[in-house]
Symmetry: C2
Subunit: 237 residues, 2 copies
DNA sequence: CGACGCTAAATTGTATACAATAATTTGCAC
DNA sequence: GTGCAAATTATTGTATACAATTTAGCGTCG
Protein backbone atom coordinates (compact mmCIF):
# COMPACT_ATOMS: atom_id res chain seq x y z
CA UNK A 1 0.00 0.00 0.00
CA UNK A 2 2.94 2.28 0.54
CA UNK A 3 4.30 3.53 -2.68
CA UNK A 4 7.86 4.49 -3.34
CA UNK A 5 10.82 4.29 -1.02
CA UNK A 6 9.88 1.36 1.17
CA UNK A 7 12.82 -0.81 0.45
CA UNK A 8 14.73 0.92 3.20
CA UNK A 9 12.05 1.28 5.83
CA UNK A 10 11.69 -1.41 8.45
CA UNK A 11 8.61 -0.44 10.41
CA UNK A 12 9.87 -2.43 13.40
CA UNK A 13 6.41 -3.77 14.08
CA UNK A 14 6.09 -7.31 15.20
CA UNK A 15 2.64 -6.94 16.72
CA UNK A 16 -0.86 -6.70 15.41
CA UNK A 17 -1.58 -7.24 11.79
CA UNK A 18 -4.97 -5.65 11.32
CA UNK A 19 -4.36 -2.65 13.55
CA UNK A 20 -1.19 -1.94 11.63
CA UNK A 21 -3.00 -1.79 8.34
CA UNK A 22 -5.72 0.47 9.67
CA UNK A 23 -3.21 2.77 11.28
CA UNK A 24 -1.19 3.05 8.08
CA UNK A 25 -4.26 3.62 5.96
CA UNK A 26 -5.52 6.42 8.17
CA UNK A 27 -2.08 7.93 8.45
CA UNK A 28 -1.68 7.97 4.69
CA UNK A 29 -5.06 9.61 4.39
CA UNK A 30 -4.05 12.29 6.86
CA UNK A 31 -0.61 12.89 5.38
CA UNK A 32 -1.98 13.04 1.86
CA UNK A 33 -4.62 15.47 3.12
CA UNK A 34 -7.64 13.47 2.19
CA UNK A 35 -8.68 13.83 5.83
CA UNK A 36 -8.79 17.44 6.93
CA UNK A 37 -7.52 18.50 10.34
CA UNK A 38 -10.30 18.44 12.90
CA UNK A 39 -12.26 15.69 11.17
CA UNK A 40 -13.93 13.42 13.65
CA UNK A 41 -12.86 9.79 13.55
CA UNK A 42 -15.48 7.84 15.41
CA UNK A 43 -14.57 4.36 16.47
CA UNK A 44 -17.67 2.83 14.93
CA UNK A 45 -17.06 4.52 11.60
CA UNK A 46 -13.44 3.48 11.44
CA UNK A 47 -14.28 -0.04 12.48
CA UNK A 48 -17.09 -0.26 9.97
CA UNK A 49 -14.87 1.09 7.22
CA UNK A 50 -12.29 -1.63 7.74
CA UNK A 51 -14.69 -4.36 8.79
CA UNK A 52 -13.31 -4.81 12.25
CA UNK A 53 -14.68 -4.26 15.70
CA UNK A 54 -14.37 -1.06 17.66
CA UNK A 55 -11.59 -2.70 19.65
CA UNK A 56 -9.20 -2.64 16.75
CA UNK A 57 -10.37 0.70 15.48
CA UNK A 58 -9.73 2.15 18.89
CA UNK A 59 -6.27 0.63 19.04
CA UNK A 60 -5.39 2.16 15.68
CA UNK A 61 -6.62 5.57 16.78
CA UNK A 62 -4.67 5.32 20.00
CA UNK A 63 -1.56 4.48 18.02
CA UNK A 64 -2.06 7.50 15.82
CA UNK A 65 -2.49 9.69 18.83
CA UNK A 66 0.95 8.63 20.03
CA UNK A 67 2.46 9.99 16.86
CA UNK A 68 0.54 13.23 17.17
CA UNK A 69 -1.59 12.78 14.06
CA UNK A 70 -4.79 12.22 15.96
CA UNK A 71 -5.89 13.85 19.14
CA UNK A 72 -8.22 11.87 21.33
CA UNK A 73 -10.23 13.73 23.92
CA UNK A 74 -11.64 11.88 26.85
CA UNK A 75 -15.26 10.88 26.39
CA UNK A 76 -15.40 12.87 23.18
CA UNK A 77 -13.53 10.78 20.67
CA UNK A 78 -10.71 11.03 18.20
CA UNK A 79 -10.10 13.82 15.71
CA UNK A 80 -7.53 14.43 13.04
CA UNK A 81 -5.04 16.62 14.85
CA UNK A 82 -5.40 20.36 14.50
CA UNK A 83 -1.96 21.66 15.42
CA UNK A 84 -1.89 25.13 16.94
CA UNK A 85 0.52 27.73 15.54
CA UNK A 86 2.69 27.15 18.58
CA UNK A 87 2.74 23.40 17.92
CA UNK A 88 3.59 24.12 14.30
CA UNK A 89 6.53 26.25 15.36
CA UNK A 90 7.75 23.50 17.66
CA UNK A 91 7.48 20.88 14.95
CA UNK A 92 9.69 22.92 12.65
CA UNK A 93 12.02 23.86 15.46
CA UNK A 94 12.44 20.15 16.11
CA UNK A 95 13.19 19.56 12.46
CA UNK A 96 15.80 22.28 12.37
CA UNK A 97 17.27 20.73 15.46
CA UNK A 98 17.54 17.16 14.25
CA UNK A 99 17.72 17.14 10.47
CA UNK A 100 21.24 18.55 10.12
CA UNK A 101 22.53 15.90 12.51
CA UNK A 102 20.66 13.17 10.68
CA UNK A 103 22.00 14.41 7.38
CA UNK A 104 25.53 14.48 8.71
CA UNK A 105 25.16 10.93 9.95
CA UNK A 106 23.68 9.87 6.62
CA UNK A 107 26.51 11.53 4.69
CA UNK A 108 29.03 9.41 6.56
CA UNK A 109 27.36 6.17 5.64
CA UNK A 110 25.83 6.80 2.27
CA UNK A 111 26.71 4.43 -0.56
CA UNK A 112 26.66 5.11 -4.30
CA UNK A 113 23.60 2.89 -4.59
CA UNK A 114 21.76 4.96 -2.04
CA UNK A 115 22.77 8.16 -3.79
CA UNK A 116 21.27 6.78 -6.95
CA UNK A 117 18.09 5.89 -5.08
CA UNK A 118 17.86 9.44 -3.80
CA UNK A 119 18.26 10.78 -7.31
CA UNK A 120 15.57 8.45 -8.51
CA UNK A 121 13.20 9.59 -5.81
CA UNK A 122 13.87 13.16 -6.86
CA UNK A 123 13.10 12.25 -10.45
CA UNK A 124 9.83 10.68 -9.45
CA UNK A 125 9.01 13.74 -7.41
CA UNK A 126 9.69 15.98 -10.39
CA UNK A 127 7.64 13.81 -12.70
CA UNK A 128 4.64 14.04 -10.36
CA UNK A 129 4.96 17.80 -10.21
CA UNK A 130 4.31 17.97 -13.90
CA UNK A 131 1.18 15.88 -13.74
CA UNK A 132 -2.27 17.20 -13.03
CA UNK A 133 -5.02 15.90 -10.82
CA UNK A 134 -5.54 15.33 -7.15
CA UNK A 135 -3.93 11.94 -7.03
CA UNK A 136 -0.71 13.24 -8.59
CA UNK A 137 -0.75 16.07 -6.09
CA UNK A 138 -1.03 13.60 -3.25
CA UNK A 139 1.78 11.47 -4.55
CA UNK A 140 3.86 14.60 -4.86
CA UNK A 141 3.23 15.51 -1.22
CA UNK A 142 4.23 12.02 -0.24
CA UNK A 143 7.36 12.01 -2.38
CA UNK A 144 8.58 15.31 -1.01
CA UNK A 145 8.30 13.92 2.50
CA UNK A 146 9.89 10.66 1.46
CA UNK A 147 13.07 12.52 0.59
CA UNK A 148 13.60 13.45 4.22
CA UNK A 149 12.54 9.99 5.32
CA UNK A 150 15.02 8.33 3.03
CA UNK A 151 17.83 10.50 4.36
CA UNK A 152 16.83 9.39 7.84
CA UNK A 153 16.80 5.77 6.73
CA UNK A 154 20.27 6.13 5.28
CA UNK A 155 21.53 7.51 8.57
CA UNK A 156 20.99 3.99 9.89
CA UNK A 157 19.45 5.10 13.15
CA UNK A 158 16.03 3.51 13.56
CA UNK A 159 15.14 5.77 16.44
CA UNK A 160 15.82 8.95 14.52
CA UNK A 161 14.07 7.41 11.55
CA UNK A 162 10.91 6.83 13.51
CA UNK A 163 11.11 10.30 14.95
CA UNK A 164 11.47 11.82 11.50
CA UNK A 165 8.44 9.87 10.33
CA UNK A 166 6.48 11.58 13.03
CA UNK A 167 7.86 15.00 12.22
CA UNK A 168 7.28 14.69 8.48
CA UNK A 169 3.74 13.47 8.98
CA UNK A 170 2.92 16.24 11.39
CA UNK A 171 4.50 18.79 9.05
CA UNK A 172 2.06 17.74 6.40
CA UNK A 173 -0.78 18.59 8.76
CA UNK A 174 0.76 21.96 9.52
CA UNK A 175 1.20 22.78 5.86
CA UNK A 176 -2.37 21.75 5.16
CA UNK A 177 -3.54 24.18 7.83
CA UNK A 178 -1.22 27.12 7.48
CA UNK A 179 0.45 26.75 4.08
CA UNK A 180 -0.08 29.64 1.66
CA UNK A 181 1.40 28.90 -1.73
CA UNK A 182 2.28 25.44 -2.85
CA UNK A 183 5.96 25.78 -2.13
CA UNK A 184 6.75 22.42 -3.61
CA UNK A 185 8.53 23.55 -6.75
CA UNK A 186 11.11 25.45 -4.73
CA UNK A 187 11.43 22.57 -2.29
CA UNK A 188 12.08 20.19 -5.14
CA UNK A 189 15.13 22.01 -6.44
CA UNK A 190 16.45 22.31 -2.89
CA UNK A 191 16.25 18.57 -2.51
CA UNK A 192 18.37 18.30 -5.61
CA UNK A 193 20.94 20.74 -4.26
CA UNK A 194 21.26 18.71 -1.09
CA UNK A 195 21.85 15.53 -3.06
CA UNK A 196 24.50 17.29 -5.11
CA UNK A 197 26.30 18.42 -1.97
CA UNK A 198 26.07 14.86 -0.70
CA UNK A 199 27.61 13.55 -3.91
CA UNK A 200 30.50 15.91 -3.43
CA UNK A 201 30.94 14.81 0.18
CA UNK A 202 30.40 18.40 1.21
CA UNK A 203 28.62 17.74 4.47
CA UNK A 204 28.65 21.30 5.74
CA UNK A 205 27.04 22.67 2.62
CA UNK A 206 24.48 19.90 2.68
CA UNK A 207 23.54 20.74 6.25
CA UNK A 208 23.27 24.42 5.45
CA UNK A 209 21.09 23.70 2.47
CA UNK A 210 18.90 21.52 4.63
CA UNK A 211 18.43 24.29 7.16
CA UNK A 212 17.56 26.74 4.40
CA UNK A 213 15.17 24.24 2.94
CA UNK A 214 13.33 23.84 6.23
CA UNK A 215 13.32 27.59 6.72
CA UNK A 216 11.77 28.02 3.27
CA UNK A 217 8.99 25.60 4.02
CA UNK A 218 8.32 27.34 7.30
CA UNK A 219 8.45 30.78 5.69
CA UNK A 220 5.52 29.81 3.50
CA UNK A 221 3.31 29.34 6.54
CA UNK A 222 0.95 31.90 7.92
CA UNK A 223 1.14 31.08 11.58
CA UNK A 224 -1.27 33.61 12.94
CA UNK A 225 -3.65 32.46 15.58
CA UNK A 226 -7.01 31.88 14.02
CA UNK A 227 -9.53 33.38 16.38
CA UNK A 228 -11.15 30.36 17.91
CA UNK A 229 -14.02 30.17 15.43
CA UNK A 230 -17.20 32.12 15.74
CA UNK A 231 -18.82 29.89 18.34
CA UNK A 232 -20.84 27.93 15.87
CA UNK A 233 -18.65 27.33 12.85
CA UNK A 234 -16.21 25.54 15.10
CA UNK A 235 -18.70 22.74 15.76
CA UNK A 236 -20.58 22.59 12.48
CA UNK A 237 -17.93 20.93 10.40
CA UNK B 1 3.44 9.54 42.36
CA UNK B 2 6.25 11.22 40.45
CA UNK B 3 8.80 12.72 42.70
CA UNK B 4 10.90 15.74 41.96
CA UNK B 5 10.83 18.02 38.97
CA UNK B 6 7.26 17.73 37.83
CA UNK B 7 6.37 21.34 38.01
CA UNK B 8 7.60 21.79 34.47
CA UNK B 9 6.33 18.69 32.77
CA UNK B 10 2.98 18.77 31.06
CA UNK B 11 2.34 15.21 29.93
CA UNK B 12 -0.05 16.48 27.25
CA UNK B 13 -2.46 13.66 27.97
CA UNK B 14 -6.09 14.41 27.79
CA UNK B 15 -7.22 10.81 27.37
CA UNK B 16 -7.65 7.83 29.60
CA UNK B 17 -7.26 8.16 33.29
CA UNK B 18 -6.68 4.61 34.42
CA UNK B 19 -4.47 3.58 31.53
CA UNK B 20 -2.30 6.60 32.16
CA UNK B 21 -1.69 5.62 35.75
CA UNK B 22 -0.85 2.05 34.87
CA UNK B 23 1.47 3.13 32.10
CA UNK B 24 3.30 5.54 34.38
CA UNK B 25 3.57 3.01 37.17
CA UNK B 26 5.04 0.37 34.92
CA UNK B 27 7.34 2.86 33.26
CA UNK B 28 8.64 4.02 36.61
CA UNK B 29 9.23 0.42 37.59
CA UNK B 30 11.19 -0.19 34.41
CA UNK B 31 13.20 3.03 34.58
CA UNK B 32 14.02 2.50 38.24
CA UNK B 33 15.06 -1.06 37.39
CA UNK B 34 12.62 -2.88 39.59
CA UNK B 35 11.52 -4.71 36.46
CA UNK B 36 14.41 -6.39 34.71
CA UNK B 37 14.70 -6.37 30.92
CA UNK B 38 13.06 -9.42 29.43
CA UNK B 39 10.50 -9.78 32.22
CA UNK B 40 7.19 -10.99 30.93
CA UNK B 41 4.26 -8.66 31.48
CA UNK B 42 1.14 -10.71 30.97
CA UNK B 43 -2.06 -8.83 30.45
CA UNK B 44 -3.90 -10.74 33.17
CA UNK B 45 -1.17 -10.11 35.71
CA UNK B 46 -0.97 -6.41 34.96
CA UNK B 47 -4.73 -6.10 35.01
CA UNK B 48 -4.98 -8.02 38.27
CA UNK B 49 -2.27 -5.93 39.84
CA UNK B 50 -4.09 -2.70 39.14
CA UNK B 51 -7.61 -4.07 39.48
CA UNK B 52 -8.66 -3.41 35.95
CA UNK B 53 -9.64 -5.58 33.04
CA UNK B 54 -7.26 -6.92 30.46
CA UNK B 55 -8.54 -4.23 28.10
CA UNK B 56 -6.87 -1.45 30.04
CA UNK B 57 -3.80 -3.48 30.88
CA UNK B 58 -3.36 -4.17 27.21
CA UNK B 59 -3.76 -0.52 26.32
CA UNK B 60 -1.08 0.43 28.83
CA UNK B 61 1.31 -2.18 27.46
CA UNK B 62 0.66 -1.00 23.92
CA UNK B 63 1.44 2.55 24.98
CA UNK B 64 4.69 1.44 26.53
CA UNK B 65 5.62 -0.42 23.40
CA UNK B 66 5.31 2.84 21.44
CA UNK B 67 7.96 4.40 23.62
CA UNK B 68 10.22 1.40 23.26
CA UNK B 69 10.14 0.30 26.88
CA UNK B 70 8.09 -2.80 26.22
CA UNK B 71 8.27 -5.09 23.27
CA UNK B 72 5.11 -6.93 22.37
CA UNK B 73 5.41 -10.02 20.23
CA UNK B 74 2.45 -11.26 18.31
CA UNK B 75 0.60 -14.04 20.10
CA UNK B 76 3.34 -14.20 22.71
CA UNK B 77 2.75 -11.18 24.84
CA UNK B 78 4.59 -8.20 26.23
CA UNK B 79 8.06 -8.14 27.77
CA UNK B 80 10.18 -5.46 29.31
CA UNK B 81 12.36 -4.40 26.40
CA UNK B 82 15.73 -6.03 26.03
CA UNK B 83 17.66 -3.61 23.83
CA UNK B 84 20.35 -5.14 21.65
CA UNK B 85 23.83 -3.64 21.63
CA UNK B 86 23.02 -2.10 18.28
CA UNK B 87 19.86 -0.54 19.67
CA UNK B 88 21.86 0.75 22.62
CA UNK B 89 24.31 2.40 20.26
CA UNK B 90 21.50 4.02 18.35
CA UNK B 91 19.89 5.32 21.51
CA UNK B 92 23.09 7.06 22.52
CA UNK B 93 23.76 8.23 18.99
CA UNK B 94 20.34 9.83 19.07
CA UNK B 95 21.14 11.52 22.35
CA UNK B 96 24.39 12.88 21.02
CA UNK B 97 22.49 14.13 18.05
CA UNK B 98 19.70 15.96 19.86
CA UNK B 99 20.91 16.94 23.31
CA UNK B 100 23.32 19.68 22.22
CA UNK B 101 20.58 21.31 20.21
CA UNK B 102 18.12 21.02 23.07
CA UNK B 103 20.67 22.48 25.43
CA UNK B 104 21.35 25.36 23.10
CA UNK B 105 17.67 26.09 22.83
CA UNK B 106 17.30 25.85 26.60
CA UNK B 107 20.23 28.20 27.14
CA UNK B 108 18.48 30.86 25.09
CA UNK B 109 15.33 30.74 27.15
CA UNK B 110 16.48 29.87 30.63
CA UNK B 111 15.47 32.16 33.47
CA UNK B 112 17.22 32.67 36.80
CA UNK B 113 14.40 30.79 38.50
CA UNK B 114 14.95 27.80 36.28
CA UNK B 115 18.68 27.91 36.88
CA UNK B 116 17.95 27.75 40.59
CA UNK B 117 15.63 24.80 40.02
CA UNK B 118 18.38 23.00 38.12
CA UNK B 119 20.80 23.62 40.97
CA UNK B 120 18.26 22.30 43.41
CA UNK B 121 17.76 19.17 41.39
CA UNK B 122 21.51 18.69 41.39
CA UNK B 123 21.57 19.09 45.16
CA UNK B 124 18.86 16.50 45.58
CA UNK B 125 20.75 14.18 43.28
CA UNK B 126 23.90 14.63 45.37
CA UNK B 127 22.06 14.03 48.60
CA UNK B 128 20.64 10.76 47.30
CA UNK B 129 24.10 9.63 46.24
CA UNK B 130 25.20 9.76 49.85
CA UNK B 131 22.33 7.67 51.09
CA UNK B 132 22.28 3.91 51.22
CA UNK B 133 19.59 1.45 50.30
CA UNK B 134 17.81 0.38 47.19
CA UNK B 135 15.17 3.07 47.32
CA UNK B 136 17.81 5.82 47.49
CA UNK B 137 19.57 4.21 44.57
CA UNK B 138 16.39 4.26 42.55
CA UNK B 139 15.70 7.85 43.37
CA UNK B 140 19.24 8.65 42.32
CA UNK B 141 18.75 6.96 38.96
CA UNK B 142 15.58 8.95 38.48
CA UNK B 143 17.16 12.24 39.51
CA UNK B 144 20.09 11.83 37.16
CA UNK B 145 17.66 11.32 34.29
CA UNK B 146 15.51 14.20 35.47
CA UNK B 147 18.40 16.58 34.88
CA UNK B 148 18.28 15.92 31.16
CA UNK B 149 14.50 16.02 31.21
CA UNK B 150 14.44 19.36 32.93
CA UNK B 151 16.81 20.82 30.36
CA UNK B 152 14.44 19.58 27.68
CA UNK B 153 11.50 21.11 29.50
CA UNK B 154 13.31 24.44 29.71
CA UNK B 155 13.91 24.34 25.97
CA UNK B 156 10.18 24.88 25.66
CA UNK B 157 9.71 22.36 22.87
CA UNK B 158 7.13 19.78 23.90
CA UNK B 159 8.03 17.51 21.02
CA UNK B 160 11.71 17.37 21.90
CA UNK B 161 10.72 16.99 25.53
CA UNK B 162 8.65 13.92 24.81
CA UNK B 163 11.39 12.51 22.65
CA UNK B 164 13.94 13.02 25.42
CA UNK B 165 11.64 11.25 27.85
CA UNK B 166 11.76 8.26 25.59
CA UNK B 167 15.52 8.43 25.18
CA UNK B 168 16.22 8.82 28.88
CA UNK B 169 13.91 5.97 29.79
CA UNK B 170 15.44 3.68 27.21
CA UNK B 171 18.91 4.69 28.33
CA UNK B 172 18.06 3.43 31.77
CA UNK B 173 17.27 0.04 30.28
CA UNK B 174 20.54 0.02 28.37
CA UNK B 175 22.54 0.91 31.47
CA UNK B 176 20.77 -1.80 33.44
CA UNK B 177 21.78 -4.32 30.80
CA UNK B 178 25.24 -3.23 29.77
CA UNK B 179 26.45 -0.86 32.51
CA UNK B 180 29.65 -1.87 34.28
CA UNK B 181 30.45 0.49 37.14
CA UNK B 182 27.92 2.80 38.63
CA UNK B 183 29.09 5.83 36.77
CA UNK B 184 26.76 8.12 38.62
CA UNK B 185 29.29 9.99 40.72
CA UNK B 186 31.14 11.19 37.67
CA UNK B 187 27.89 12.01 35.92
CA UNK B 188 26.81 14.09 38.85
CA UNK B 189 29.75 16.45 38.72
CA UNK B 190 29.33 16.76 34.97
CA UNK B 191 25.76 17.89 35.48
CA UNK B 192 27.11 20.57 37.75
CA UNK B 193 29.64 21.71 35.19
CA UNK B 194 26.94 22.07 32.59
CA UNK B 195 24.86 24.21 34.91
CA UNK B 196 27.85 26.38 35.62
CA UNK B 197 28.45 26.91 31.92
CA UNK B 198 24.77 27.75 31.57
CA UNK B 199 25.01 30.32 34.34
CA UNK B 200 27.87 31.97 32.51
CA UNK B 201 25.89 31.99 29.28
CA UNK B 202 28.66 29.95 27.71
CA UNK B 203 26.53 27.87 25.39
CA UNK B 204 29.36 26.31 23.43
CA UNK B 205 31.08 25.02 26.52
CA UNK B 206 27.80 23.72 27.85
CA UNK B 207 27.21 21.77 24.65
CA UNK B 208 30.69 20.35 24.68
CA UNK B 209 30.29 19.28 28.27
CA UNK B 210 27.01 17.65 27.42
CA UNK B 211 28.62 15.66 24.61
CA UNK B 212 31.41 14.57 26.91
CA UNK B 213 28.90 13.62 29.55
CA UNK B 214 26.97 11.41 27.16
CA UNK B 215 30.21 9.91 25.91
CA UNK B 216 31.20 9.09 29.48
CA UNK B 217 27.97 7.29 30.17
CA UNK B 218 28.33 5.34 26.95
CA UNK B 219 31.98 4.54 27.68
CA UNK B 220 30.89 2.73 30.81
CA UNK B 221 28.87 0.25 28.78
CA UNK B 222 30.07 -3.15 27.67
CA UNK B 223 28.26 -3.45 24.39
CA UNK B 224 29.39 -6.88 23.35
CA UNK B 225 26.80 -9.18 21.93
CA UNK B 226 25.75 -11.63 24.56
CA UNK B 227 25.55 -15.01 22.90
CA UNK B 228 21.86 -15.74 22.83
CA UNK B 229 21.70 -17.75 26.09
CA UNK B 230 22.56 -21.42 26.38
CA UNK B 231 19.33 -22.84 25.03
CA UNK B 232 17.72 -23.36 28.39
CA UNK B 233 18.65 -20.38 30.52
CA UNK B 234 17.01 -18.16 27.96
CA UNK B 235 13.59 -19.58 28.73
CA UNK B 236 13.87 -20.34 32.41
CA UNK B 237 13.71 -16.86 33.71
C1' DC C 1 -37.64 34.81 19.82
C1' DG C 2 -34.05 33.02 22.59
C1' DA C 3 -32.55 30.65 26.91
C1' DC C 4 -32.96 26.99 30.04
C1' DG C 5 -33.75 22.18 31.31
C1' DC C 6 -35.18 17.69 30.43
C1' DT C 7 -35.35 13.34 27.83
C1' DA C 8 -33.62 10.36 24.12
C1' DA C 9 -30.01 9.03 21.01
C1' DA C 10 -25.45 8.37 19.97
C1' DT C 11 -20.65 7.71 21.34
C1' DT C 12 -17.04 6.48 24.25
C1' DG C 13 -15.18 3.69 28.52
C1' DT C 14 -14.64 -0.74 30.43
C1' DA C 15 -15.48 -5.51 31.27
C1' DT C 16 -16.40 -9.92 29.76
C1' DA C 17 -16.94 -13.81 26.45
C1' DC C 18 -15.32 -16.52 22.91
C1' DA C 19 -11.78 -17.82 19.25
C1' DA C 20 -7.08 -18.54 17.90
C1' DT C 21 -2.47 -19.29 19.00
C1' DA C 22 1.31 -20.69 21.85
C1' DA C 23 3.18 -23.24 25.99
C1' DT C 24 2.92 -27.27 28.91
C1' DT C 25 1.98 -31.64 30.22
C1' DT C 26 0.86 -36.32 29.45
C1' DG C 27 1.34 -40.67 27.32
C1' DC C 28 3.35 -43.88 24.34
C1' DA C 29 6.85 -46.04 21.63
C1' DC C 30 11.49 -47.07 21.22
C1' DG D 1 15.10 -43.01 30.32
C1' DT D 2 14.75 -40.33 26.10
C1' DG D 3 12.21 -38.43 22.21
C1' DC D 4 8.27 -37.43 19.84
C1' DA D 5 3.18 -36.58 19.46
C1' DA D 6 -1.33 -35.67 21.07
C1' DA D 7 -4.03 -33.45 24.37
C1' DT D 8 -4.48 -30.16 27.97
C1' DT D 9 -3.74 -25.67 29.81
C1' DA D 10 -2.68 -20.94 29.64
C1' DT D 11 -2.34 -16.62 27.13
C1' DT D 12 -3.26 -13.55 23.58
C1' DG D 13 -6.54 -11.72 19.66
C1' DT D 14 -10.98 -9.99 18.63
C1' DA D 15 -15.79 -9.17 19.15
C1' DT D 16 -19.60 -8.02 21.77
C1' DA D 17 -22.27 -6.36 25.84
C1' DC D 18 -23.17 -3.12 29.18
C1' DA D 19 -22.19 1.29 31.81
C1' DA D 20 -21.00 6.12 31.77
C1' DT D 21 -20.79 10.40 29.40
C1' DT D 22 -21.70 13.50 25.96
C1' DT D 23 -24.56 15.36 22.31
C1' DA D 24 -28.95 16.42 20.09
C1' DG D 25 -33.69 17.22 20.04
C1' DC D 26 -37.65 19.33 22.03
C1' DG D 27 -40.78 21.52 24.85
C1' DT D 28 -41.47 25.02 28.22
C1' DC D 29 -40.72 29.35 30.26
C1' DG D 30 -39.13 34.01 30.55
Amino acid sequence: MNSSADGLLTPIDSTETGVQQIRDAIRDAIVERRLAPGTKLSESDVGGLFNVSRTLARAALQALSYEGLVSVEKNRGAFVAYPSPEEARQIFAARRLVEPGILKSAAERITPVQLRQLRQLLLEEGRLMGERGQSARRAEIKASGDFHLMVAAISGNLIMQRFMEELVARSSLVIALYGQSSVSSCGHSEHGDIITALEQKDVDTACHLMLHHIAHIEADLDLRERKSFGLKEAFER
